[in-house]
């Protein structure tokens, strides 16, 4: 078995170790992405409400 294979095999615990790391990565990335998206949505909504206000005047 090559060293990469044995690394991925994790001594038979691959099905526990890798999901733990993968899930951590997903959750950490999600928090960053959702924050950035919320901020850009905020500015988009603000611009839209400004436009609406201008039109109604």
């Amino acid at each position: 078995m090559s060293s990469l294979q044995s690394f991925l095999h994790m001594g038979g615990y691959a099905m526990y170790v890798w999901p733990a790391y993968f899930l951590t990565l997903v959750v950490l990335v999600y928090n960053v992405v959702s924050t950035i998206r919320r901020e850009s949505r905020f500015f988009r909504m603000l611009a839209e409400s400004k436009k609406r206000q201008r039109r109604s005047r």
Binding site: T24, T35, E39
Partner: protein, 248 residues
């Protein structure tokens, strides 16, 4: 002194100042993550009892530490907002909740993934696991409260009270492995005498814990900046920033 505090504690100042911190914190966080992962997954030897499965420690323990640490930050920031009416503190408390919930969730799930091969079960209703689950519910309750109350000042006050009441759970989680007999192993790092873990395993753990800490610092600032924008959506300076963004 108070003048200084109010000047730098003002939402606008915080918004401007925090921006320059985020890249630095993210950069340090990235370097620590790479070092911690190499140390934990490659350099550290397999455990003599648990084999390779012990490597889950490098995501499980830092997540669990952060779940407690962030709760204390959230409760202290909530109290600061409640007592001294510091708006930035309210934003920090609100920004901390989803991150704390995330780390609590990770601590529970990675613990479960570690428990299955080592204890033979995904879950037991013992003191450590149950009190950590209650912590997740406290975070979710706080978030639900923020969503349910439209007035953001009222929501911040109600959330702060909830967070402060929930602080009683923190020492319970910490001491649960000593107070009750449980499947969960006792502390290996935060013991008064020398930690019962080898240096080659301990160093990556501490590096990963630091990486998680820098991650939290960077993302909580980013999130608090967004919360401040929502709080101050009707103020002139937010309109200015929005106009600049559209123009540039």
């Amino acid at each position: 002194m108070f003048e200084y505090f109010y000047k730098y504690g003002s939402p606008r100042h915080f918004y401007d100042l925090s921006k320059s911190f985020v890249p630095w914190l993210s950069g340090i966080c990235g370097i620590l993550f790479i070092a911690g992962l190499i140390g934990g997954l490659v350099l550290a030897p397999p455990d003599y009892q648990q084999g390779e499965s012990f490597r889950i420690i490098y995501v499980h323990v830092p997540s669990a530490w952060m779940s407690l640490f962030i709760y204390m930050v959230m409760a202290s920031a909530g109290a600061t907002g409640l007592i001294w009416k510091v708006k930035v503190a309210d934003a920090l408390a609100r920004a901390s909740a989803p991150l704390g919930a995330s780390f609590t969730f990770l601590a529970l799930v990675t613990g479960s993934l570690w428990g299955k091969p080592m204890w033979g079960t995904w879950w037991v209703w013992d003191a450590r696991l149950t009190s950590e689950l209650i912590l997740l519910f406290l975070y979710l309750g706080y978030i639900a409260l923020q969503t349910a109350i439209d007035d953001r000042r009222t929501a911040a006050r109600a959330g702060a009270v909830l967070a402060l009441v929930g602080v009683v759970n923190i020492p319970i989680i910490h001491y649960s492995v000593e107070w009750w007999h449980t499947l969960h192993q006792g502390p290996t790092v935060t013991k008064l005498d020398a930690p019962s873990i080898d240096t080659s395993m301990l160093v990556p753990l501490l590096i990963m814990a630091l990486a998680f800490m820098f991650y939290y610092a960077a993302v909580v600032l980013l999130r608090a900046r967004y919360e401040i924008l929502e709080n101050e959506r009707n103020s002139a300076w937010v309109s200015e920033i929005a106009a600049q963004r559209e123009g540039g």
